[in-house]
Amino acid sequence: MRGSQKRVKTFQDLVLALHEYWRDQGCVIFEPYDVEKGAGTFNPATFFGCLGPDPWRVAYIEPSRRPTDGRYGENPIRLRLHHQYQVILKPPPPDIQDLYLGSLEHVGIDLRDHDVKFSEDDWESPTLGAWGVGWQVWLDEMEITQFTYFQQMGGVDLDPVSVELTYGLERIAIFLQGVESAFDLLWSEDVRYGEIWHEKERQFSIYNFERADVGRIRRMFELAEAEAKSCLEAGLVFPAYDHVLHCSHLFNVLDARGAISVTERESYIARIRELARACAQKYLALLEESRARVLA
């Protein structure tokens, strides 16, 4: 394993250590994208970054909102908002697995004292029109990372393919800090995770499960969808994509609220996927036209 071992004490140290490691692997260190989303994959740095022929290496932290996973702050590990650390390597280097394992060592996990397994888990996002092949990575049988070779994004076959690494930061931090609940984690030396997030978990759970106004949310979905379409017509792919993200999140809220039947679900997903496809197509066309690097 490469990399020197760190003494990573806090949640923020973990993020900084990963930044450091992946910066040294030539990654652009990106920021979370400031539109709500269910996973780091939705960040334009991944969605657009995986499209097109140019090499691209990026790493960033992404607060990921999943309304249905909310537990009112009562479950130690299931969270409405959790933090993903996301790495994209396009094209993937042949020693990518070792590189990834090196990052675990770098944040202070001694792999010779623990057990790591790569268990089959093929990832798919029907809303993004994306799928890939890979594993969940288990550390002492706790899932810590989703490791995926993307094969398709926005319905487009990828060439070259990209590897996506999605670290579950709370889980890794729990492991490193030896606590049982995410809320007990040290975010910094003197601030706990729960002090920042617990009340938010509670309130958003109430909102998502009980209070969100279904009628208004549906209308917001329609508006965002319409806005995405009109942006696409004007060739404004990036603004369009922001609205696709809104649509995806609003759909997730409706889902958590129990407002979507099985058949409706299919049609909502198909509507978002169509928009995502259109964004992917427009982006590729833009790359063709401009013959310049338009990075995600």
Partner: protein
């Protein structure tokens, strides 16, 4: 004789796919080497999650020479009047570097040609392997493929290295961006990154030194041995499934046991819940003591014993957290008793065209009650069935089943008991999905059996009603599995009932949808599944003979097939005679529609004789069939053989008088009908 090693090094293969891929690689070489004139003595397949390997012993150093006869010009063209070669023949000789004395003459059809015996020298084995190895890799059957680099090659997971050795020599096979070498890799964490091999023979041992057990049987043995030790040491019994063992063997290069414990406070959770938590993702082996869950579990670390105990601590933390989650679900679920959940099923769409799960429950209920009637369930049993059918899907609304879908039914039973339902009802709910897999146990109670039957028949009829039928390997609604389970239930219990009648009675429960398939297609599909099941144990032709006369009484169909098979075993000749007699009848009367005949129109003694036997056999046959004694029925039919044969020897059926002719055909048709009670015996291969 040289030895050969091929190793395809990969990133971690899905645990349950690796064995089939390794076998396929071995089979491909086993087929192509002899075809390339490289017969070998022994071939062995080894694999781990990160490698597929084939070891071959006793391979010749080169191909055998190939000797072929090549045809040249016709003699008339190739030789002149003096018997000397013409330009045409000289060209032919030049092409193969031969001289005129090598020419042979041979007649093909009505013409004589010049021939040469051409010997192609065998090529070195290494050269041939360079060609066939890439083909063998390329042709590996993957259920899903991926690309990982610019070479464009695709496989189930990335291929990262190749070892290809013929004795000490590297065969530099190319595949994608890779060139084969002699370097394999040890365990990811506990072995050397690179292990150069001198020869194929040292493959296993060098890998073992590198903390990799290449032989899957040996890994399975290590895992089973570890479980046995826990059994002995703790006085417990391991709760295995074959799948769990397969996943473990497929995900470990060196299984090192890690025994964990969980706090006894969780032992009040239902046993199936504890097992599901431990089985999740195929990670841990649960144990039972005296039929109750034991607070220990066995996990495996890959590569090395857990000397410091960190891995055990990690496993225990994970298990405890999951058990805590499970308890949370369980307690939450209990806040709303099972019967109150039935109403919530109206909010769960089962399938857009087939309605909600509540609608499905209504259909299952209807079918179950009809089946109970047909099977003669008692008053009490029907009361329990009525209740169990109503409740059987209510556990779909529980957190536990959402979290552990494999506990569907099982949780329903547990929650029904908690809600104070009668034991018979709870048991039937618990059993209504049995058998879940091939070889799984069947429901133990009549109520559970009927409920399971109804559940499966509804699944099949529902899918047919909306045209979602399985094609090829595609079976999105799992209909084939449902129908197989249904057949298994009927044959295994066994159940004596007319499935076709049940289908007809249920048709009205389903919507009419464009593209939907009707009851006749359901019946054909069910028969086809029966065919499938019967062929496992009976000769093909025996099965075809009874299925040629379709009936909804599947148990009876099997009984008929068994009787035929038994007769074949006991008295092959007798079965042949029966089939021959039936064949004679079918040839002449098979297409004849009428069956009414008038004995007064009989003219010959042989007709009278057959008629007398016919009358006797007919009534005896009816009795035997009523008792469902099919061997006895066959014995009665055999009495017809003599008179039938005599009839055909002595009677000219196609009499010139139409009335007599028609009467004879109708009579023979009636005799044939008796045979058809068993089946169409002309399908038997005699």
């Amino acid at each position: 004789m040289p030895e050969f090693l091929l190793e395809v090094g990969t990133e971690e293969l899905p645990a349950l796919d690796a064995p089939a891929l390794a076998e396929a690689l071995g089979r491909s070489l086993a087929d192509s080497l002899p075809a390339e004139r490289l017969p070998f003595e022994r071939l062995e397949v080894l694999w781990t999650p990160r490698r597929l390997a084939v070891l071959i012993k006793g391979l010749p150093g080169r191909q055998e020479d190939l000797v072929e006869e090549v045809r040249g010009p016709a003699v008339a063209v190739g030789l002149d009047d003096n018997g000397n070669p013409t330009q045409a023949a000289l060209g032919f000789l030049r092409k193969y570097g031969a001289s005129p004395e090598d020419l042979k003459r041979k007649r093909v059809g009505d013409k004589e040609y010049l021939f040469l015996e051409v010997r192609t020298q065998g090529r070195p084995a290494g050269e041939v392997l360079r060609e066939i190895v890439p083909q063998a890799i390329r042709s590996l059957p993957c259920r899903k493929t991926m690309r990982w680099d610019s070479s464009g090659v695709a496989f189930l997971r990335p291929i990262r290295w190749l070892v290809c050795l013929l004795d000490g020599e590297v065969i530099p096979v190319r595949y994608g961006n890779l060139v084969a070498d002699r370097v394999t890799r040890g365990h990811r964490f506990f072995g050397p990154k690179e292990i150069p091999l001198e020869s194929p023979g040292e493959y296993r041992e060098r890998l073992r030194e590198g903390r990799v057990i290449a032989d899957p049987k040996e890994r399975a043995g290590m895992i089973e041995e570890a479980a046995r030790e826990v059994e002995k040491g703790h006085g417990v019994r391991a709760l295995w499934t074959e799948e769990l063992l397969g996943i473990l063997v497929g995900s470990l290069e060196w299984p090192a046991p890690v025994l964990g414990e969980f706090p006894a406070e969780f032992l009040d959770l239902p046993a199936p819940v504890i097992a599901a938590v431990l089985h999740e993702e195929g990670k841990f082996i649960p144990f039972a003591k005296d039929g109750e869950p034991a607070p220990v579990f066995l996990g495996f670390r890959d590569g090395k014993e857990d000397e410091k105990g960190y891995v055990r601590q990690g496993f225990e933390r994970v298990v405890k957290a999951r058990l805590r989650d499970a308890r949370f679900f369980f307690e939450n679920d209990l806040k709303k008793p099972l019967p109150e959940r039935v109403e919530d099923l109206k909010g769960i769409v089962h399938e857009a065209r087939l309605g909600t799960v509540w609608d499905r429950v209504q259909r299952i209920h209807h079918i179950a009650m009809k089946a109970a009637e047909a099977l003669g369930l008692s008053e009490g049993e029907r009361r329990h069935l009525d209740r169990a059918a109503l409740l059987c899907k209510a556990d779909l609304t529980t957190e536990m089943v959402k979290e552990f879908p494999e506990l569907e039914g099982v949780m329903g039973g547990i929650y029904a008991r908690k809600a104070g339902e009668p034991e018979e009802v709870a048991r039937a709910i618990e059993e209504h999905l049995l058998p879940r897999t091939r070889g799984d146990e069947l429901p133990s109670t009549a109520v559970g059996t009927v409920l399971s039957l109804a559940e499966k028949l509804d699944a099949v009829m529902g899918a047919f009603a909306i045209g979602e039928i399985p094609t090829g390997s595609r079976d999105p609604y799992g209909i084939r599995r449902a129908a197989n389970a249904l057949v298994h239930l009927v044959l295994g219990k066994p159940l004596v009932l007319d499935l076709f009648r049940l289908v007809d009675e249920a048709v009205g429960l389903y919507p009419e949808v464009p593209g939907g398939k009707g009851p006749e297609e359901v019946k054909r599909f069910l028969l086809d599944r029966l065919r499938h099941a019967l062929r496992d144990e009976l000769d093909y032709d025996v099965v075809e003979a009874v299925l040629a006369v379709p009936r909804g009484d599947f148990h009876g169909l099997k009984g008929r097939a068994l009787a035929l098979a038994r007769l074949r075993e006991e008295d092959r000749r007798a079965l042949e005679d029966l089939a021959t007699a039936f064949g004679r009848l079918k040839n002449i009367a098979g297409k004849h529609g009428r069956m009414e005949f008038d004995p007064a129109l009989f003219r010959e003694e042989a007709e009278e004789a057959l008629w007398r036997t016919y009358l006797e056999v007919k009534s005896l046959l009816e009795e035997a069939m009523a008792k469902r004694d099919f061997p006895e029925a066959l014995a009665h039919l055999r009495r017809l053989v003599g008179p039938v044969n005599r009839y055909f020897d002595e009677v000219f059926v196609m009499h010139e008088d139409e009335r007599i002719r028609e009467n004879r055909l109708s009579f023979l048709r009636s005799v044939m009908e008796l045979f058809l009670e068993i089946g169409d015996l002309s399908r038997l291969m005699i």
